[in-house]
């Protein structure tokens, strides 16, 4: 099975071909793959979506023009090339708007040559999401390094069956011992040892509390379809327009203005703000935290793990990196639950964690120190 990194290398090779049709195929794959990267790079410098799109078009035009001398051997080299291209296009764009702009304003300074090799190594690792999240689990949740993904999943499942689903330990062990070919047989004492591991409690809490956008949106739409059932304070079920707005906001993570422009005149801004605020109040995360406290309360030290900083770093990292949520949205999904756990996630702390990519920096430094052994 090819990795994302393999697929990117394959696209680069296609684009290097001398055959036009092959080259075009490679180019279209590169465009699709690189657009989010460019959007992210330009996000701080250009607020306007259309300006960003203009620059992205220019970048791809330049990439196409450079096709004859195109040659990359690593994914890191491709991203660095694209970043330089972005910087050049951005300079041209800013100069056309204002005489006073400088490179420093653009936050796209050159990467120090001494770091190139390290950056390429980290980029390679980050292309593999499983590896990236595994590194994040190790760094923030303090999960042990030496065990396989499958064993981690195996232990996590046992803990969920026992602590979250409250199944009898005999049932849990019987299920967990179904597969005899890879894992040690699990007995009562093994199960007790597994669920009392602090890092596993943090891992369990993280997987319960982090919801994908699709999951959260489906939850909001479902509870809003029959408001009387759960005493949610909603007078009527969501209308079709409201449902569409909720989907755009919470599943596709669009901003208010983008949603307004999509919906046209059917809903006004204040109405939308009120709906979204109501949705945030309906988020399940605080309730999940209270349930988690009940579930892990009997485990010695379990409640402390729910308030551990690492758990909340991991949450913020995942919402930022995996779901690409803005800070306000991350705050909406974490602050209430953190408070219920006995700690806090505030706008200031979020800003410290995410500004200048500090969480990424920690993760990259961790990877460089740790090396790739065992992955």
């Amino acid at each position: 099975m090819s990795t994302p990194s393999d697929r990117l290398i394959a696209a680069l090779e296609l684009f290097s071909s001398k055959v036009d049709s092959t080259r075009e195929e490679g180019f279209s794959r590169l465009v699709a793959r690189s657009r989010p990267f460019l959007n992210s790079l330009l996000a701080n410098s250009l607020r306007s979506e259309s300006d960003r799109e203009d620059i992205i078009q220019q970048i791809f035009q330049r990439v196409w023009k450079s096709r004859e001398r195109f040659e990359f051997t690593t994914v890191g080299a491709w991203w660095r090339f694209l970043r330089t291209m972005t910087r050049n296009c951005l300079i041209d764009h800013v100069r056309s708007q204002s005489e006073t702009a400088s490179l420093e304003d653009l936050e796209l300074q050159d990467i120090p040559p001494a770091e190139i090799e390290m950056v390429d190594a980290v980029v390679e690792a980050m292309e593999d999401r499983r590896l990236l999240y595994r590194l994040a689990d190790e760094l923030f949740l303090d999960l042990p390094q030496g065990i396989s993904d499958s064993l981690r999943t195996h232990h996590l499942l046992a803990a969920k069956l026992f602590l979250i689903d409250r199944m009898p330990w005999q049932t849990v062990c019987r299920i967990m011992n179904s597969q005899t070919n890879e894992f040690e047989l699990m007995g009562r004492s093994d199960l007790d040892r597994i669920v009392s591991d602090p890092s596993l409690i943090r891992h369990l809490a993280f997987t319960e509390l982090h919801w994908e956008n699709e999951q959260l949106c489906a939850y909001l739409l479902e509870i809003g379809s029959d408001p009387g059932k759960d005493s949610l304070g909603l007078e009527n079920p969501w209308s079709e327009e409201q449902k569409e707005a909720i989907q755009l906001r919470f599943q596709y993570a669009l901003l208010l203005d983008q949603i307004l422009s999509r919906l046209g005149t059917s809903v006004n801004k204040s109405e939308l703000v009120a709906i979204f605020d109501r949705c945030v109040q309906l988020f399940p995360f605080v309730e999940i935290m209270y349930r988690l406290r009940q579930n892990v309360g009997p485990v010695k030290g379990g409640l402390d793990q729910l308030a551990s900083p690492g758990l909340w770093h991991r949450m913020v990292f995942q919402y930022h990196c995996h779901n690409a949520l803005p800070q306000k949205d991350i705050l909406d999904r974490t602050a209430g639950a953190a408070q219920a756990a006995g700690t806090d996630v505030t706008p200031g702390k979020l800003n410290v964690g995410l500004s200048n990519g500090r969480l990424f920096k920690k993760l990259a430094d961790y990877y460089l120190q740790r090396g790739s052994d065992g992955y």
């Binding site: 990267f37 992210s40 390290m118 999240y133 689903d165 070919n181």
Partner: protein, 363 residues
């Protein structure tokens, strides 16, 4: 939540590049809902490692899958405790568990097909037969694991001490302590997966035939025979280390135990576990398939054995399917033939599956 600031490490320019790469958001394949059939196969223990991991990832992500897992466990256990002939499929679509029953039947049928066609009646309780079976593709390996699991079920495939038994081919008295025979015993797993055994006897030991077997909980699996010459013997057991998934290299002394024991001359009967819960155990003859039925000739002569008995077949590494139950009347000198239905995939002739004949205790 406090994130300490460190100026060491990568520069801001490098970090901004990493942030942008991370934004490309290539999420791993999300764990989708798991079909009932796959859950049955998971509980039965017939999935590959990769398939099982996918199920576990799905169950971690979805409470509904975990609920379905526990429900499937109860279903499979009920199927196992129902005589095979009574495990009716019913009209298609009537039962919501129809899909599960269908899959369970497929598991049973497949195992019976593999053991009756690949073993062709060979006694599975010798390494030669088990090894040959384990090399017949994924199904053969699973069938061999099933038979292994039936006899050595408390021993994981991946752990536990390797218990080697050794002794003379015949005439062993049991009075010679192992350490009085061998002064050195080493085992090592070769790259090929073979297990190599080297043993050295006390000086002056006469040349003689010896054997090595695997033993666990008073059950023995004969492995290999050879000659002790000039006080030394070196034997290779084809694929045994690989089958047990032992790591390549020397087997640690801590996980290697050995004892002296008799060669199990009657190992052909070792494929039938008999559990009378007291009294004199009934004698059983080799099972045979005739007209699609399993026939097990036996003699129940001790009056204490009267009552309900059941016959089970190991169908996966962790599941026994009940084949039939019997109301046994004991009579001295009378030969009774126990009969049970098997799937149509069975082949006529001697039968090599792992069977368990046990008395049902009054509830």
């Amino acid at each position: 939540m406090v994130i300490s600031e460190s100026e060491e490490g990568l520069s801001a320019a490098s970090v901004s590049l990493l942030c942008a790469v991370a934004a490309t958001r290539i999420a791993p394949d999300s764990a989708g809902s798991v079909p009932k059939r796959e859950l049955v196969r998971y509980i039965a223990g017939v999935l590959s490692s990769q398939e099982a991991q996918k199920i576990e990832e799905g169950a971690v992500a979805r409470p509904t899958t975990r609920y379905e897992l526990s429900k499937t466990l109860a279903l499979v256990e009920s199927y196992c405790n129902t005589p095979y002939s009574a495990l009716g499929l019913g009209p298609v679509g009537v039962s919501e568990d129809f899909e599960s029953i269908l899959e369970w039947n497929a598991v049973v049928e497949n195992h019976v097909r593999v053991i009756s066609h690949e073993l062709q009646g060979a006694t599975p309780t010798t390494w030669a037969a088990l090894s040959k079976l384990s090399k017949q593709g994924a199904d053969g390996y699973l069938a061999a694991k099933t038979i292994w699991g039936a006899f050595f079920s408390t021993l994981s495939m991946t752990s536990g001490p390797l218990k080697l038994g050794f002794g003379y081919r015949r005439g062993a008295t049991g009075s010679i302590e192992p350490l009085k025979l061998f002064t050195r015993l080493e085992a090592s797993v070769l790259d090929s997966g073979d297990l190599e055994i080297f043993a050295e006897a006390k000086p002056g030991t006469t040349d003689r035939a010896v054997y090595f077997g695997f033993s666990h909980q008073r059950r023995a699996l004969p492995l290999v025979e050879g000659m002790l010459l000039n006080g030394q013997v070196k034997l290779t057991i084809d694929g045994f280390g690989g089958f047990l998934r032992l790591p390549v290299g020397p087997v640690s002394r801590n996980s290697l135990t050995a004892r002296f024991e008799d060669w199990p001359d009657e190992c052909k009967f070792g494929q039938i576990l008999v559990q009378p819960w007291g009294g004199t155990s009934p004698s059983v003859e080799l099972p045979i398939i005739s007209d699609g039925k399993l026939l097990l000739p036996s003699r129940f002569e001790d009056p204490q054995l009267e009552g309900q008995w059941e016959l089970l077949l190991a169908v996966t590494p962790n599941c026994w399917q009940m084949l039939a139950h019997f109301d046994i009347k004991c009579e001295f000198g009378r030969r009774q033939v126990l009969s049970a239905d098997l799937p149509g995939t069975v082949r006529e002739g001697p039968f090599g599956g792992a069977l368990w004949l046990r008395r049902q205790l009054p509830r």
